[in-house]
Point group: C2
Amino acid sequence: MTTMTDPYTSRVSAIPQVLERPHPVVWGTSTTPDVAVFAERGYLQQDHALSTESVENCLAEIDRLQNDPKVRGDARIVREEGTSAVRSIFDIVEFSDIVRNAVAESGAEDIAREILGSEVYIYQSRLNYKPGFHGGAFYWHSDFETWHAEDGMRHPRAVSASIALTRNETYNGPLMIMPGTHRSFVQCAGATPEDYYRESLVTTAPRVGAPAENIIADMAETHGIDVLTGAAGSMTVFDCNALHASGGNISPLPRANIFVVFNSVDNPIDRPFSGSVPRPSFLAKHPPATGKAAVETSTAAEIGATRQGRNRR
Amino acid sequence: MTTMTDPYTSRVSAIPQVLERPHPVVWGTSTTPDVAVFAERGYLQQDHALSTESVENCLAEIDRLQNDPKVRGDARIVREEGTSAVRSIFDIVEFSDIVRNAVAESGAEDIAREILGSEVYIYQSRLNYKPGFHGGAFYWHSDFETWHAEDGMRHPRAVSASIALTRNETYNGPLMIMPGTHRSFVQCAGATPEDYYRESLVTTAPRVGAPAENIIADMAETHGIDVLTGAAGSMTVFDCNALHASGGNISPLPRANIFVVFNSVDNPIDRPFSGSVPRPSFLAKHPPATGKAAVETSTAAEIGATRQGRNRR
């Protein structure tokens, strides 16, 4: 008799543990220096992923979307807690041809395919905006922990690309990663409340899906913290299971980035492993039914149509 | 007829302006490289101001004082907004022989004397503690703006020494300074509420005594932002009128530092220039009556007695 045990059990009622990740980080056969760095540290950085012109066009899109009456009240527009300031715009590659084209220009998809060893599709896309003076923090977390527990992503076979639309300085709330933590799975404590995503998208102090402080402290002691700075147009691609965070921003310099998650088409989205109701599709899209990456085989218009179709599932 | 105009008028009801500082930054004749850097950038940094042993002794003092029932309820112990966590302990050199000796060891007083071109005395001392995970920010401000408006410090002839008791990394809320801003005086808008210091010591979003956001943005554009990192035991000495801030801390690494302000004995403390009631002496001590620095001429025990005497004024 064989018993299946989920190697990424989380949202536990017992004291959370740090488990070893049984699955690979690099699923492909590439041995480029970039991929070697990614395997070792859980991320890679590239300068000049976007041209200055594309960066400017994307920033203009943010302005346009922030004030577009058509998207007012849309659940995919997340605002800062207690204010009307936009914090995230989900499905950004569907909202905006300009942003979708910028993602294509960045080369992120090729990198994702190389690392994940298969065709890929966009699991989630969003635009993050952290205003100057009052930008809120994103607390330490592993994306995969949430995607597995709340969305049903089966294995850590996904990567995120963060494409900078503004300078990322040490002082304006840049991405911080604990390099090496992608090789461990950090369990989190607590049952997942119903519709928790509504709260989790805006809070800076998550109640569930956040590692215990003693574990974060141990991981920082063991692995250190890398603060990822870069010019506008630079890109960071990081493993879905790396512990990361970003601090608040009291500097005058806003921080904006496009965030795109590529999942392997061979990494199914099951029922949420925490037993909760699946989150909306703008947070977690399923692989295309054909098993072939839509982004590779479709024109821009077709992609839009395909994604709309997926959204209605 | 001569009319005296305060060149550092602040807490204005009109639109606040950026004024030129009519007084020198370096009041002495020293031309050492350190002093030249200070004149140019508004701060200087020194490694190894404290020995490892002194750092450890000071950290043990924080632990002791945080839990000392004798100081519970003391107005000089400031806690994080809404929690019991200690944020600042004022008069720290009076509370603790160990910290007072550490300040003497640091050499900060000699540097202050060199820059200010006179004997000096301790205008204010405190221990700042920014815990890991939840440390609050200190918003952009000039210390002198507050000391002039709320305490009556006549001229910007004072320097602060921040002595690190923990590593200051870019990610745990280190001191940030806009280099060069010490040569301008940034007016702030708004009348000073009664007993405002009680609020101002704990809030991360001050209502008064904070420059307007457009001015902060202009100053950052012109001067940039230096993020001051350093090992435990390192020291930063900075001008009382430099615009500075420190961000929140979501890293596990706490940040603790001793903060000591040296004022020139020739820089009188008048009535508060904003017309408010003077703040308590633990925030703003007057020069010794003799015009001679107590710290230079007394033994440790005598200093304690002298300061106690000043406190009772």
